[in-house]
């Protein structure tokens, strides 16, 4: 067997063969810049066609529910005139039970069109089941590489369920121990099979999610005669934020605020064998949300199509206990059960709606399926076995990996505003180090301003503070 070094040395060659017609070098514009919009346009399918491709494989056109009971409850604890109308897009109704079907649909359509025999995807999340489901429907073979176990062979119930589902949908599932070498192994599998790389981060994946944002924008405008004031998006790798925001813009919602939400797991290392099973969320958390925002190209393709800092207006953190509370509350007041990780933005919707006027509309843009393993009782039972303390109390007393605090009442749900400026600063520090920047071209400057949605000299101030010239 080849070593990690051997495989990583062939990285570019393997990727080129496995990504169909995308030659990422065509989009490079020198130095740190590349033409993001040209990369996105490479997909080439107009929205009408994207929607129709998704319909072919049981994706999209999911219900948009007005959460009347939850809205009423929130108004009971809000100041007079406050308490926005809360809507939710029930993405659990897609073929494999999450919005990830949107992300897989175009990739698999493209893989089939280009004559590949199968696809490989590296993911521990719902995306694996989505790829497997779409592969079955398109007549393609499917291999999923998942990070599942710690070195003792113990896995989170939520991930075990995701593995079961991939197997049920006919995939060959490689269940791996903790570590970033997941990507080395998926490269090896791509090399061995010659299959298509159904990476989460290609323009096909993001274009598929744009359909979700587009549907939300069009449906809200049709039903309520106005744009959503804000859309809450669970943020991890950045694709959900990027795709939804772009789709909203395409639907003509130019004033909708884009709010990313992650579960606060700061202090736990994502690649640590011992921390691995001390977290009760396997996605939608800061362990992905922060590093992928500040260094989007740390992925299995040369340039990541998911670039959340281009779109985010706010980034909020909430605690694990608040999400479990919101999940239970949602079931009890709205009469439907949905999986916990997809409810990250639901938890933030409660304090955010309280601050907004009654006539405004707040959209929670996804749900995910629930079942054995993917349920608060399963995750909390597992957490207790791992020695995590679970109590009722003030969510402020939450300590990731040590204590989960389930709020005692609805009023206690709140959020921490993570300063976007801090993320943008880290982005610049990281990028300047990576590219060893001494001076910038005007093209690179413009690229950075677009990357960071910078309208007020944030980048220029940074350059001046570092003594970097641009010309």
């Amino acid at each position: 067997m080849e070593t990690v070094k051997d495989i990583l040395a062939q990285r570019n060659e393997i990727m080129k063969k496995s990504l169909g017609g995308i030659d990422y070098s065509n989009f490079e514009k020198g130095g740190l810049a590349f033409d993001y919009e040209a990369l996105m346009k490479f997909v080439g399918y107009p929205m009408k066609e994207v929607l129709s491709i998704q319909r072919e494989t049981k994706v999209g056109n999911t219900p948009l529910y007005e959460l009347k009971n939850l809205t009423k409850l929130v108004r009971k604890i809000s100041l007079p005139g406050k308490g926005a109308r809360i809507l939710i897009k029930d993405e659990a109704m897609n073929a494999s039970g999450s919005f990830k079907d949107r992300r897989a649909a175009l990739s698999l359509f493209q893989a089939k069109k280009e004559g590949y025999q199968g696809v490989v995807a590296a993911t521990s999340g719902n995306y694996g089941a989505a790829v497997a489901s779409q592969a079955l429907q398109r007549g393609l073979k499917c291999i999923i590489a998942q990070e599942v176990f710690d070195s003792r062979g113990i896995g989170q119930p939520e991930i075990l369920e995701k593995g079961r589902k991939c197997e049920a949908l006919g995939a060959e599932v490689w269940q791996l121990t903790v570590g970033p070498e997941l990507f080395f192994w998926s490269l090896q599998l791509l090399k061995e099979t010659g299959y298509f790389n159904a990476s989460l981060y290609t323009p096909y994946g993001i274009r598929g999610i744009e359909a979700l944002g587009y549907e939300i924008g069009m449906e809200v405008k049709t039903l309520y005669g106005r744009e959503p004031s804000a859309v809450l998006i669970t943020h991890a790798g950045g694709g959900n934020v990027t795709g939804t925001a772009r789709g909203l813009l395409e639907s003509g919602c130019f004033n909708t605020r884009i709010i990313g939400v992650s579960v606060d797991l700061r202090g736990l290392h994502m690649a640590s064998d011992t921390d691995f099973n001390r977290k009760s969320f396997t996605t939608g958390h800061t362990g992905f949300g922060v590093p992928f925002a500040v260094n989007p190209d740390r992925v299995d393709v040369p340039r990541n199509a998911a670039r959340p800092l281009r779109y985010l207006d706010r980034y909020l953190l909430i605690t694990q206990g608040e999400v479990f509370y919101a999940t239970e509350l949602f079931t009890r007041v709205e009469g439907i059960e949905r999986g916990p990780a997809g409810n990250t933005s639901l938890a933030a919707a409660i304090p955010i709606a309280r601050e907004m006027p009654e006539d405004e509309i707040l959209v929670i843009q996804e749900t995910e399926y629930t079942g054995a393993g993917k349920h608060p009782t399963a995750q909390l039972t597992f957490a207790r076995k791992m020695g995590i303390e679970i109590i009722r109390g003030n969510p402020q007393d939450n300590i990731p990996g040590k204590r989960i605090v389930i709020p005692e009442n609805l009023r206690q749900l709140s959020y921490e505003e993570y300063p976007l400026a801090k993320l943008k600063q880290s982005y610049l520090e990281h990028t300047f180090k990576k590219y060893e920047v001494k001076k910038l071209s005007l093209i690179e400057l413009k690229f950075l301003q677009e990357e960071l949605k910078d309208n007020n000299n944030f980048v220029i101030d940074y350059l001046n503070s570092k003594g970097v010239i641009y010309e």
């Binding site: 067997m1 070593t3 990690v4 409850l73 009971k76 199968g118 073979k141 499917c142 291999i143 599942v148 176990f149 070195s151 062979g153 119930p157 075990l160 369920e161 079961r164 197997e167 006919g170 995939a171 060959e172 599932v173 490689w174 269940q175 791996l176 121990t177 903790v178 570590g179 970033p180 070498e181 080395f184 192994w185 290392h269 690649a271 640590s272 064998d273 011992t274 921390d275 479990f324 509370y325 239970e328 509350l329 009890r332 007041v333 054995a372 393993g373 349920h375 608060p376 009782t377 399963a378 909390l380 039972t381 597992f382 679970i390 109590i391 009722r392 389930i406 005692e408 009442n409 609805l410």
Partner: protein, 101 residues
């Protein structure tokens, strides 16, 4: 399942594969992770009769042949809904109270 029990060919089994020894792992990973091997588990149909712990070949869901150490026969899905969680059960009655306010 006894270690000395012969597992018949064509049984549905799980194997474990050592992909990287600790010293072969990439740089920059946390210390605890760097001390343990990088391993895979995969399921499929056993090619020849074998005992647990032996190196075997299996046929995967995609009919590919993969080899590794035999660790289980007909491995069950053990994840479930867990135990009832009192801290969550309480929320239902609290919501009833909130409606009355």
């Amino acid at each position: 399942m006894l270690k000395n029990e012969l597992i018949k060919k064509d049984s549905y089994v799980e194997i474990k594969i050592l992909l990287l020894k600790p010293e072969e792992r990439i740089e920059g990973i946390p210390e605890d992770t760097s001390k343990v091997p990088f391993e895979a588990r995969i399921k499929g149909f056993l090619v020849k009769d074998a005992y647990i712990g032996e190196k075997v070949e299996i046929i995967t869901a995609l009919k590919r042949v993969v080899s590794g150490i035999l660790i289980a026969v007909n491995p069950p899905f053990k994840h479930d809904f867990g135990e009832p969680v009192r801290e969550l059960l309480e929320i239902g009655w609290e919501v009833d109270e909130l409606w009355k306010q």
